[in-house]
Symmetry: C2
Subunit: 193 residues, 2 copies
């Protein structure tokens, strides 16, 4: 050990995450990053490797946070249907309240990078698998509790919900009317009846 790092690594990752989330990998320059994090280039390269490594760290960080949050939602859940409605509603409420239309960092990265970068494709794909698993477990538990008809296919619906969420995050980039999202959510939630 020798001289200590003068900045907080997690804070720096959070700031970089916001930049990449908002403008994409290609939309942010290294100069912009070091200006925003208020560190020097050598510090950035020393701490995080290169631009793509930094990006990857922020994406993994984002994914973890989302997975933890969604897991929590279902742990405190009394009713799956309500919880799904809450999760879907939060997406558009956040979108409408923010000035930044940054949507979902995972979706953004899927579109921008997944087809041309295997590492990013893996992160995105792993994230999707985790989400679907959480949903599937929640629906199966609800079926056990007779809150959802046993005729429903939990896997199929989980997949469909992920699709809906991805769609909503695309919409959130340019749709600023509550009604549009509520149209979708109402139709979607009905699939659990």
């Amino acid at each position: 050990m020798a001289r200590n790092r003068e900045f907080n690594t997690d804070d720096a990752l959070d700031k970089a995450m916001l930049l990449f989330w908002n403008k994409g990998f290609n939309g942010v320059s290294t100069q912009e990053i070091i200006d925003d994090l208020n560190i020097s280039k050598s510090s950035m390269y020393g701490a995080f490797g290169d631009k793509m490594e930094l990006f990857t760290l922020t994406l993994l960080r984002y994914s973890s946070k989302i997975i933890v949050d969604i897991n929590n939602e279902f742990e405190i859940s009394q009713n799956v249907k309500m919880t799904f409605k809450k999760i879907l509603s939060q997406i558009y409420k956040e979108a409408l309240s923010k000035k930044l239309n940054n949507g979902c960092f995972i979706v953004n990265s899927t579109i921008e990078l997944a087809p041309h970068n295997k590492k990013i494709a893996k992160i995105v794909s792993d994230h999707r698998t985790k989400l679907e698993d959480i949903f599937e477990n929640a629906i199966n538990k609800a079926i056990e509790k007779k809150q959802v008809p046993a005729t429903k296919n939990a896997k199929q619906i989980s997949c469909f919900f992920c699709n809906t969420i991805n769609g909503m995050y695309v919409d959130s980039k340019y749709i600023r009317t509550k009604t549009s999202y509520e149209n979708t959510i109402n139709t979607v939630i009905a699939s659990l009846d």
Copy 2:
């Protein structure tokens, strides 16, 4: 009039469209464009203005083509449900058959540019409005023909279908299994029953 253009403008636009569609605005350089179109820089700038103008032209061209195609589908349609199933299935069949995971040029541009570029946001938003209108008309006609229950809200379902399509185009960037898409489609089509 004077010297004639040596290249075909429409062919050039189609080639440029493929580039942007596959790699996004920021993912394609002017050098790459002129190499691919096999024209000189001055020809490109002379014919299309600048990179963003060229991009905009290709995006509008893409949008028009999609709208014409979808319109045609419903014009030859005997049954809305079948037509929707056909449209949704085509998305994943095309995705699975192609080596390029380019998805939908409109969705890609929505994610990459709409939040930071008003002109692109308008194109994307107009495209969405047109699509929803086509769907709404088709569902209403089907209700008249008693193919769809009159209790259904055509506007709401149209909005939901657009959401589903956007979600599928996100998925198409990294999901290579038929089952996943069929899970979604089966659940979605059921909303017309």
